[in-house]
Amino acid sequence: MRRVILSVTGLVAGTTLLISLKSAPGANRTPQQIEEDAARVAALEAAAAASASPTPVPSGPGQTPKPPGQTPTPGRTAGPGSPTKPPTNPAPTTTTKKPTPPGTGPIMGDSVFTEFGYVQVAIKVSKGKITDVIAIELPADEPRSITLSERAGPILRERALAAQSADIDSVSGATWTSEAYRTSLQSALDKAGLG
């Protein structure tokens, strides 16, 4: 059985936690445990839906828990052989993070990339502690069952890719050739400085 360890950062000030995704949840979990997992996830999803507007849950396409065309529950019941959700591979989205008051509903995390694909989770916080995790976006071959584990190091966060111009001193880029330099922003900066 393969276990995938993911970490989630920045959701609660300074908090990093590890989440273990079990690729074969039925393999060493009892049917009762699996049912409990499913019920837990369903309850959190219901809470997420109910608290969607007052809590900082963004509404971008990449952060919709159930993408269009997906039936609401079967993909999330985590039973052996149950279908898994295909990875949503959305347009770049931004996330909103605010200080977490005690006892609020689920809070959406950043989409992150792991060696198995894009992953996004929401957390449930109670009295400043993370009490549960919901998978929003998971690699295609990873099912629902998620458990919290120990702390881990940071991983990369997503932000919107936008083209911008700004007041800068120098440009970092993959510009090896002098030919490429001639048409580069760095060239324009140098001309301005040397002129």
Partner: protein, 237 residues
């Protein structure tokens, strides 16, 4: 002192507020020495004629590259294309050496940029911390983020570049998945090699960059998503 020189097959931009022009000559002489020794385009360079008897500088480069090969699980490989080619380390390393020399000479405010690999220290002539733009990987004259600081080494490796091709050493093919990788940290030689290695790893490089200690990163994927490490000193937070 501001100066632009075309050397090492690329362009070197020096910005050292308050320094005399003669200081530029010393730095250019250093980069010329690096070019003469490590250029793979010069048939009489040490790297082109290397037969196992390294000069002290070559030994330093080969030792550092051997360490980086281990650190990157073999993805930073100076033999990836067959012939000895430490270019993915030498450019950043040579800028780091130049920056260290400037600091030692009492010029704690400077920006040295060689083909997009940058060392900044202190402040710019405006008195503010240096601001480094990361080139947008599809739009040549635009940026995708701005990094700011008073002591930064910033290296970017990308598949949009010409004249230098990163290959996956395990397949000998160009990697896919990542369009541009920028690594920021205390040493530009290491940052340069880490950026090259992450690019060679493809999308797995995203997870790998997250494991680096002391080095921050920004990555743009082929499917146009921008990821960055939590500690990256972005100008807009």
């Amino acid at each position: 002192m501001k100066r632009v020189e075309h050397l090492m097959g690329t362009t070197i931009s020096l910005d050292v507020p308050g320094a005399p022009d003669a200081l530029g000559d010393d730095l250019v002489a250093w980069f010329r020495e690096v070019d003469d020794r490590f250029s793979t385009y010069k048939s009489d360079s040490e790297v082109s004629t290397y037969a196992g008897a390294p000069s002290p500088l070559m030994k330093e480069v080969l030792d550092r590259c051997a360490t980086l090969w281990t650190q990157t699980s073999g993805y930073f490989d100076i033999h990836a294309t067959g012939a000895l080619d430490p270019s993915g380390f030498v450019k950043g390393w040579s800028v780091q050496v130049a920056s260290d020399r400037l600091l030692a000479a009492g010029y704690g405010d400077h920006c040295v940029n060689a083909g997009g690999d940058i060392c900044v220290r202190g402040r710019s002539a405006s008195g503010a911390p240096w601001r480094i733009g990361v080139r947008h990987p599809w739009i040549e004259d635009q940026l995708c983020c701005v990094i700011t600081g008073t002591d930064l080494a910033v290296a970017t490796s990308g598949v949009y570049e010409r004249g230098h091709h990163v290959v996956d050493p395990f397949t000998a093919k160009p990697p896919s998945g990542l369009r541009s990788v920028t690594v920021v940290g205390p040493d530009l030689g290491d940052a340069d090699a880490y950026a090259t290695a992450a690019l060679a790893m493809g999308t797995a490089g995203l997870a790998w960059l997250g494991t680096l200690s002391g080095y921050e990163s920004a990555v743009v994927t082929d499917d146009r998503r921008l990821f960055h490490s939590p500690g990256l000193p972005l100008a807009d937070g």
